[in-house]
Amino acid sequence: MYYLTSALVKCKREAKEGEEVEFDHTRPIYMQVIEDIKLRIIRGELKVGDKLPSTRELAMQYQINPNTASRIYNELEQEGFCYTKRGLGTFITEDETMIIEAKETMAEKLIEDCINGLKQLNYSENEVIALFQKKIGE
């Protein structure tokens, strides 16, 4: 049932845009903040080349431990999603292909979770397709 809760968390995020993120405490917090930052970049709320908040500000914004906040920037940097200008702060990559890739990865993950969930309900592949077509047609 995990895909369901994960989808729910995402809905809540969208509903509460600009407000605090509702965390799913059964998953590492840093991963969820990373997902949220990526989501906001993909949606265009954060733009390529933008300066990200300081570690401290990030901690306050998400109400997370400061060490978790610095870990988030470290991971994002390792992935190439952001970079640090010494003395100036952390910035979002200017490489748009990275953002497109992230968007595709996220879409794939959503579809996969959804299909896996439907398979658990014993839906066949054809039924899944039919279900999708019906939903989209609505």
Binding site: H25, T26, I29, Y62, Q63, N65, P66, N67
Partner: protein, 233 residues
């Protein structure tokens, strides 16, 4: 920063803390989790130098607990410790006399955040406001290690966020926090490590993110499992 080794504390024949070994590192935030009577407060009191271990050692910066450690460790007990005649302003002065690292400006700033007026009498405060005052006076010290025993006790659900944010803001690379609470949910996103104590025995001490990743579960659920004796950790 702080090393507890084979700590044992007996009250008469009752073992409050049993053979507990623990390391507290600089710049980290620890949740001290355990049910009532599990030994959390006893452990904090020993670190604060308010009670002596029956056996075992505590070293703070390689020195035994004493005058030097007390200067750098700020302990907020669960019980109220203000004289009845004191106003909130007096409480600040009283603290200033006791602790060199007490910062009056910081105290004022914290009081303002918590919406506490300096003129109020400490004895007239409700449970929630009393708890906020305790926190203000503790965080106004520029300590290296803060030990907060149940900082959310008596704080209503609306004010919890305000209190947690204030604690969060006080954190930096140079200080450490040990926070005990039975409201595990409120601490989830704030801590680096979770320390679980059961009947005075250390059951588990690990990174919160690692625990979530390994067990696909919240610290709060893991806490329940440990206390109900379900599963191996």
């Amino acid at each position: 920063m702080l090393k507890c080794e084979s700590l044992t504390k007996k009250y008469g024949s009752k073992l409050a803390v049993h053979n507990l070994t623990l390391n507290i590192e600089k710049g980290k935030v620890y949740a001290l989790l355990g049910s009532n009577g599990s030994g959390k407060t006893t452990l904090m009191k020993m670190i604060a130098g308010l009670t002596h271990p029956t056996s075992g050692t505590i070293l703070y910066e390689n020195q035994p607990i004493g005058i030097a450690s007390k200067k750098e460790i700020a302990y907020m007990p669960t019980d109220s410790f203000f004289y009845k005649y004191m106003s909130i302003k007096d409480v600040g002065k009283y603290y200033k006399d006791f602790f060199q690292d007490f910062d009056e400006e910081k105290y004022k700033e914290l009081l303002e955040r918590m919406e506490l007026s300096e003129k109020l009498k400490a004895s007239s405060l409700s449970t929630g406001l009393g708890a906020k005052l305790k926190l203000c006076v503790t965080l106004a010290r520029k300590a290296k290690l803060y030990m907060l025993d149940e900082p959310l006790n008596g704080i209503d659900i609306i004010a919890r966020e305000q209190v947690m944010n204030t604690i969060l803001e006080a954190m930096n690379e140079e200080n450490s926090f040990i926070i005990s609470s039975h409201l595990v949910d409120e601490l989830e996103t704030v801590i680096d490590e979770a320390i679980f104590i059961k009947n005075g025995v250390l059951e588990l001490n690990r990174s919160a993110e690692e625990l979530r990743a390994q067990y696909n579960n919240s610290i709060s659920e893991i806490y329940k499992m440990i206390y109900l004796g379900k599963g191996e950790f």
